[in-house]
């Protein structure tokens, strides 16, 4: 894992510095932006943010899972999941900055998104 974790506080700080709004107002706006994106996805509408990426909600069918502790088979009910697909700009930005840098990040690949 790499060092730092960026949180809401850091985003509020960035808004405060770059836009020059008060900290209180910056914090409220960060919340509004996240809330607006979430509401949209919960409504089932995709959110496309150019040069950043796309959030969509996707239905998943019922499947058989396994309790990893007991090994017992259990049905997993159909559900909706939120998926983020990063834009090519974001992918290139991240890969370009880190490849060959030896920065240690998670190598696990347990996820179901194998987008290249």
């Amino acid at each position: 894992m790499s060092g730092k974790t960026v949180t809401r506080a850091d985003l509020c700080d960035a808004v405060h510095r770059r836009v020059g709004l008060s900290r209180t107002e910056s914090a409220a706006l960060v919340e509004s932006v996240l809330a607006e994106i979430s509401d949209c996805i919960v409504r089932g509408e995709p959110v496309k943010l150019s040069s950043f990426g796309t959030f969509v909600s996707r239905p998943k069918g019922q499947r058989v899972g396994r309790n990893p502790k007991t090994g017992q088979e259990v049905p997993i009910s159909p559900r909706r999941v939120m998926v983020f697909k990063s834009s090519n700009v974001l992918k290139q930005r991240v890969n370009g900055a880190l490849v060959g840098s030896g920065v240690a990040v998670d190598t696990s690949d347990e996820s179901d998104d194998s987008d290249d």
Binding site: S2, G3, K4, T5, V6, T7, R8, D10, L11, A14, V15, R18, V19, L21, S26, L29, V30, E31, S32, V33, L34, A35, E36, I37, S38, C40, I41, V42, P46, V47, K48, L49, F52, G53, R80, V81, M82, V83, F84, S86, L90, K91, R93, V94, N95, G96, A97, L98, V99, G100, S101, V103, A104, V105, D106, T107, S108, D109, S111, D115
Partner: protein, 101 residues
């Protein structure tokens, strides 16, 4: 919804702000996330989700058409994990849940 519609929606809720400022707010948020990921940092937004970077080590791949082996170089990819609150909202949990107070 696209970015300009997001900006408009936020501008409508904040009539005292210029739309240009709202645009800068949205860009400041997205840029901060991109910059953090480009440093290899993680961005954790409770209730919404967390952005992180994963490393895909170099491997020997195969051209699926010809079957020839090709060296695939190491790469870093952005990754998003949906937050608990968000997951619950998508599956009929409380509609306007907690973190927004």
């Amino acid at each position: 919804m696209i970015k300009s519609e997001l900006v408009q929606a936020i501008a409508r809720q904040n009539p005292h702000l210029y739309q240009r400022d709202v645009e800068n707010v949205v860009n400041a948020i997205l840029d901060s996330i991109v910059e953090a990921l480009a440093r290899g940092d993680r961005v954790e937004l409770r209730g919404f989700g967390a952005f992180s970077v994963k490393n895909r080590p170099a491997r020997i791949g195969r051209n699926p058409r010809t079957g020839t082996r090709v060296q695939v170089t190491e790469k870093y990819v952005p990754f998003f994990k949906t937050g608990k609150e968000m997951r619950e909202r998508l599956n009929g949990g409380s509609p306007q849940a907690g973190w927004r107070g």
